[in-house]
Symmetry: C2
Subunit: 146 residues, 2 copies
């Protein structure tokens, strides 16, 4: 049972990263489609499929008590009417620790459901430290594929 409706894929993405930073499992699972075919790959991890397994993985991640600071940039939007794919760069740091933020490449896919947009895929993998991104001059302007 979903309590929140995300009018756009961007809204769902914003809620995803807010839930990640807040270590809020219920908010995180509000973002995901309640479906057996959703896919989640955490950095270096194996592919998880289905709502129950994806939920369990986030529960484990959030159980450690760490709070994350996640900066999202370099968004590329590959958009459709019913399905949207976002490519972003995440920079993840643990709050209260002095270690450098870890760069992660993420592909996020969203589907338009009868009750707004929901995440259907999250594929995150380690990115090279300090890698030069393409066209870094415009990190704040989402690029849209027509």
């Amino acid at each position: 049972m979903k309590n929140t409706t995300f009018p756009t894929a961007q809204d769902a993405e914003a809620a995803f990263y807010e839930a990640l930073e807040a270590s809020d499992l219920e908010a995180m699972m509000e973002v995901w489609a309640d479906d057996e075919e959703i896919v989640c790959i955490h950095p270096g991890g194996s592919r998880l499929a289905g709502f129950a397994d994806v939920r369990a993985s986030w529960a484990e991640i959030f159980s450690g008590g760490r709070r994350l600071d996640v900066q999202v940039s370099h968004q590329v939007v590959l958009g459709g009417m019913m399905l949207a794919v976002h490519s972003v760069r995440e920079s993840i740091a643990v709050k209260g620790e002095k270690r450098a933020a870890v760069p992660v490449s993420a592909t996020n896919a969203y589907m338009r459901t009868g009750n707004g947009w929901r995440m259907i895929l999250h594929h995150a993998s380690p990115a090279p430290q300090g890698a030069t991104q393409q066209r870094p001059a415009e990190p704040e302007t989402p690029r849209v594929l027509h």
Copy 2:
């Protein structure tokens, strides 16, 4: 100028892996949309964007003279009318070498264009060796999100 039309996203995906095994740059770039916003992440690599940079990366990969054997399995299809997202497991070996195949998780996105389906995103990352996949009993039957 594209010479080949892929009637479905599955056709484009089959052509992608054929081109990868054949180290055939022209065939590989037939699969990709000729667009500035396409995205390609090779395992452990930084994100590449745009046709020219994606082409250059495949040219470099194919220039080594190695021939790859790529087994694709565990496909999950998140499909739409205009956009499709496929999650697959790749098992990549170098032909003529005895090293074990390397497991890779890949997310592939395709867009329906005026001239058939083209790849718009390929995100590949190392997967754990011997990781148990979800529901391994049905690797040959694509699972479709409705």
